[in-house]
């Protein structure tokens, strides 16, 4: 019981990558709907999820992030035709690498959110924060 209560007090730091056209707009939508969600996720705006270089994700963990989330346009909806598909391909590779580093798969999440899905955005973010809270802080190199 005690340990669980301790875990719940943990406030993870999570970095999120949002594409300008869909997921960033979804976050704007959640804002205009004034739908609250945990403050733990800090977002970086990029033009396309295809811009997410795996080194950005690694950098986030290095800088103390306990989790990373990449949100893209739904397949077929990408503003740049198929950048989201490139992004998910890279994500799948990256997760295999992270596992070798001992970083749990759940600490790196990829999902699709459209510009109108403010509600889905809030639930995905909330779920990510809950998941990482459950996992506890990420310890790299004994830090």
């Amino acid at each position: 019981m005690n340990t669980k209560r301790k875990e719940n007090k943990f406030e993870p730091k999570i970095l999120g990558f949002l594409c300008n056209w869909c997921s960033y707009a979804a976050a704007d939508k959640a804002g205009t709907m004034q739908k609250p969600y945990p403050a733990n996720v800090h977002f970086i705006r990029i033009m396309c999820s295809g811009r997410v270089d795996p080194q950005f994700v690694l950098k986030a963990y290095e800088e103390g992030a306990d989790g990373v989330i990449i949100l893209a346009c739904h397949p077929g909806d990408c503003h740049y035709k198929e950048g989201n598909l490139k992004a998910v391909g890279r994500y799948n590779m990256l997760v295999r690498l992270l596992k070798q580093f001992g970083i749990e798969e759940e600490r790196c999440r990829f999902d699709y959110v459209s510009a109108s899905e403010g509600g889905k955005f809030v639930s995905v973010i909330t779920d990510m924060v809950d998941t990482v809270k459950e996992l506890g802080p990420l310890c790299l190199n004994g830090k």
């Binding site: 800090h42 705006r45 295809g50 811009r51 950098k59 800088e63 950048g83 490139k86």
Partner: protein
């Protein structure tokens, strides 16, 4: 570095939920932040005036603005920066309203988060570089491929505005399909009469000197990009000099050889020298190489002998490859009908008196193979004609979609038949009826109210079996209940859906524009931008983009012309967004990974140098190549790896 930070309170939208004082204390601790200003409404006129004056006074080297979503006001503040003589890309906007104030109720947490975002922006903005839109000289001329309704309308609109058009048509005649229709739905207007004024304008109207019409021609090669395409056009020899020929037809009769006339759906024959069909424009004939005896080595000169003017026939005409420079391309190559012989149960091509809608159009056309007469049934015509709608459409085994035009053709035929052959019964076999728009229902109503027209809804086209019984066509079909029934007719008209024409794929690969899942050219967006292709500067019009009627094809032709007139202004330079990628040639290893991932074919490979190079006109700035480059030598302007890494570090620490 001197960085100025502005915090917009957005009235109380932001300042009620985020403590500006607390944020200021955090941010002014950063070594490069020179000042921190709090403003009530930065996007209001007073706010913008204040910002401009303050920037002019304090002359910061970089600017960070904490306010609403950059999707709302990034452009607004970039314009203010420009007015204050600061490069607009030296600014970073932070969304502390939608992403913080409106979604976090705890003021402490919200203030911390706003501070973290601002720290990220301060770290990132220091690395920003001043960017300028690139300016390019452009060619204002336009290539239009296809001289049907869409291509003609676009050509006329562009030339009316003073542009030059190269109009390429693969057939010897122009006007597309509708000039071959006797009547056009929904108002039963005469097709040639409706289109000939347009054809006349193209051939010898006020602006026709600005239209270079190339018949018997096809685009074979395209290089370049918006503003500067180099196009190669292959033109087959016509062997008839348009300058000399007077269109008298004297040459046709003496020609000793003939072949099936594909312009009349092969329902009759034409000579080796012919006009395609009577009334076809431009009004001079062509010699078909494949039929003419001269290409078979004989020295036949009968057409030349019959010609009443000198040098109108030129046997020395040769195939040409013509090169043109244009700034934009309009694709208007039209479509085809689904091949009804795929519906083997319907007997098309095997049993007599079964025609497609296009063949029937030619049969009833006064310039067609029978000069408008339905032959073979005596004076009163056939006792009954069955029109089978949805011949292959809305069917998972054939064509999944509905073309939206075939029902209207069917009801047009109903009107035509009932007027011309009042004793003929008409059966409409249909799966669904589609008559959209404000006018098309009228022909449908006329058919419904016609006592000689009968409507039969069948369950599935595959359950219709056509055979010959007692010399007539017997049609066995199933109702939706599954009950089998039989009708008898003397003639069947099949209304198949519109499908992409057979050369769509090849032209797509020449132009490097993709096709959709049905094989039509894929539009940029099916609602917002159906006239733009996925390649900048290439526009899609008419039924090569989607099945459509003449009205929509004309509208798309006009829309494409509008896009070109506004987006490719004559005498002005084209401004290219600076948020694009560029390759550091020195360090490029030539692995070509970037070329594989670019969705816009904006990266070329310089074979000589063995390096990749980006095309600033085609690049849309998505950054996929930047992330993919294994050597990290592609720079994505305004979203460089250094800038993003600095932002990540700034936000997280």
């Amino acid at each position: 570095m001197k960085i100025g930070v502005y915090f917009c309170k957005c009235g109380t939208n932001i300042s009620d939920r985020i403590d500006p004082q607390k944020v200021m204390e955090e941010i002014t601790k950063l070594k490069d932040v020179a000042y921190f200003e709090t403003v009530d409404f930065l996007c209001a006129e007073e706010g913008k005036e204040f910002l401009e004056k303050d920037l002019k006074k304090k002359k910061p080297m970089r600017v960070v603005i904490g306010a609403c979503s950059p999707r709302d006001h990034e452009k607004t503040f970039m314009n203010v920066l420009s007015k204050a003589a600061i490069n607009p890309y030296l600014m970073q906007m932070v969304n502390i309203r939608e992403h913080v104030a409106w979604v976090i109720s705890d003021i402490c947490k919200a203030s911390d988060k706003a501070s973290a975002y601002l720290k990220g922006a301060v770290a990132r903005v220091q690395l920003h570089e001043p960017l300028k839109p690139e300016e390019l000289n452009v060619c204002p001329d336009v290539l239009v491929i296809g001289a049907g309704p869409a291509g003609l309308k676009a050509s006329l609109s562009l030339t009316e505005a003073g542009r030059k058009v190269v109009l390429v048509e693969k057939n010897p005649v122009i006007g597309g399909m509708p000039v071959r229709y006797e009547e056009i739905f929904p108002n039963m207007e005469c097709g040639p009469c409706m289109l000939e004024p347009m054809l006349g304008d193209v051939l010898h109207g006020d602006n026709s000197e600005n239209i270079e019409l190339l018949t018997l021609s096809e685009v074979v090669e395209v290089a370049g990009y918006l503003g500067n395409f180099i196009v190669k056009i292959k033109q087959l020899p016509r062997y008839v000099n348009p300058e000399k020929c007077i269109g008298c037809r004297e040459c046709i009769e003496p020609c000793p050889v003939s072949a099936k006339n594909e312009f009349n759906c092969s329902l009759d024959e034409r000579k080796a020298i012919s006009f395609a069909f009577s009334g076809g424009l431009p009004n001079f004939p062509f010699i078909d190489d494949e039929v003419c005896l001269r290409t078979k080595g004989e020295n036949c000169r009968l057409c030349e002998d019959a010609c009443i003017v000198d040098d109108a026939i030129n046997f020395d005409d040769k195939k040409k490859v013509i090169e043109r420079n244009v700034g934009a391309i309009i694709v208007a190559v039209g479509a085809e009908l689904y091949d009804c012989s795929n519906l083997t149960n319907l007997g098309y091509g095997k049993l007599p008196n079964i025609y497609t809608s296009l063949e029937f159009e030619r049969i009833i056309a006064s310039n067609g193979p029978t000069e408008g007469e339905i032959q073979g049934f005596g004076k009163n015509g056939p006792r009954s004609i069955a029109i089978i709608h949805c011949a292959g459409s809305l069917d998972k085994n054939h064509i999944k979609y509905c073309s939206g035009t075939c029902c209207q053709s069917a009801f047009k035929f109903n009107q035509f038949i009932s007027k011309k052959l009042p004793n003929t019964k008409i059966f409409h076999f249909f799966k669904e009826i589609s008559v959209p728009g404000k006018e098309t229902f009228q022909l449908y109503n006329k058919a419904l109210n016609n006592p000689d027209s009968l409507f039969i809804r069948y369950r599935n086209i595959n359950e219709i079996d056509v055979s010959i019984e007692n010399g007539r066509l017997a049609i066995h079909y199933s109702f939706s209940s599954g009950k089998r029934c039989k009708s008898t007719a003397d003639m069947i008209i099949l209304c198949p859906p519109i499908i992409p024409s057979s050369d769509t794929a090849e032209l797509g690969s020449i132009l490097e524009i993709p096709a959709d899942r049905y094989g039509f050219f894929e539009e940029l967006h099916n609602r917002v931008d159906s006239v733009q292709s996925k390649l900048k500067g290439v526009y899609l019009t008419g039924s090569c983009q989607s099945p459509m009627d003449i009205q929509n094809a004309m509208n798309q032709g006009l829309a494409a012309s509008g896009y070109i007139l506004s987006g490719l202004p004559e005498g002005k330079k084209l401004e290219i967004e600076p948020i694009i990628a560029s390759v550091d040639e020195e360090r490029c290893s030539g692995c070509r990974v970037c070329i594989l991932v670019c969705p816009y074919k904006a990266i070329d490979f310089d074979e000589e140098k063995a390096k990749a190079t980006t095309n600033s006109v085609l690049c849309q700035g998505c950054g996929t190549c930047v992330a993919a480059c294994p050597a990290g030598v592609i720079k994505g302007n305004h979203f460089t790896a250094e800038e993003l890494l600095a932002e990540i570090q700034g936000v997280l620490t």
